[in-house]
Amino acid sequence: MQPDHLSATFSALADPTRRAILARLALGEASVKVLAEPFEMTLPAISKHLKVLEGAGLITRSREAQWRPCAIHAAPLKEAVDYMQQFRKFWEESFLQLDALLQDLQSKDKPND
């Protein structure tokens, strides 16, 4: 994956409404009207969010059906998750050692613990 694709993915994810839309689409395809229901937003506002998601390749919109259902396209999401995982691993390994160190330091302070 090209770095600019990854930036598009992160940018698309950096918005709570778009993340909620993706969460809904993970359950199955839906129309713009259905997707808009949980939000206090106009249909054009939701359509704008959908365009960002579509631009990042995170959703696809059928051109065949009249109601143009949206469907999730998970591949870029997986790339982004794999990518974040590297960052997480670095800290997770470090923090596991910090847990052990903190336990050690506290048992020295309180030998009866």
């Binding site: 950096a14 691993k89 670095f90 800290w91 903190l102």
Partner: protein
């Protein structure tokens, strides 16, 4: 590990990284583990940390160097913007390597009392999304040595 101590990393906006983690220790002690070089050396970077200097006062400088295998080293440095023991510190971070040292970002780390433990809340703020994603990219290279260190620790634990 309990679910309470699970590391959480999110991207609250285009240019930020928010990291939270709970530790089962009082915050004075967690604070020391983040700010006392002797203690930092014992856990950060899974054995890849070779230089650790921290002048813990506003305006004071700090410097960390991680070994990153084939990538050489990752030298980081910066200055403290705020030091409020044991609640919060804020500092600038940049690569200690021209021309990359021209760009710095900020890191604000809070230590919140949480029952008998401490909740760490770290907010990293970059100038833009590209720089932020670049930091995530950089983290890849610390991972290999971190795993090797964990292997050693796990092996040592099993021999006990």
């Amino acid at each position: 590990m309990t679910s309470e101590s699970t590391l959480d990393i999110t991207l609250p906006s285009d240019n930020e990284i928010l990291l939270t983690r709970r530790f089962d220790a009082p915050r004075e002690l967690v604070w020391d583990c983040f700010t006392d070089p002797e203690k930092v050396r014992l856990w950060l970077g899974g054995g890849s940390l070779t230089v650790c200097e921290i002048d813990l006062r506003v305006g004071g400088e700090w410097r960390l160097v991680f070994e990153a295998g084939e990538r050489g080293t990752i030298p980081l440095k910066g200055k403290f913007l705020e030091v409020t023991r044991p609640e919060r510190f804020a500092r600038t971070v940049c690569f200690d390597q021209p021309p990359r040292d021209q760009y710095s970002w900020t890191e604000s780390v809070e230590f919140q009392a949480d029952g008998n433990g401490t909740k760490l809340v770290s907010l990293t703020t970059h100038a833009n999304r590209e720089a932020r994603d670049g930091q995530l990219e950089g983290m890849k290279y610390g991972t290999k040595s971190a795993y090797e260190k964990l292997d050693e620790v796990l092996a040592a634990l099993q021999n006990k």
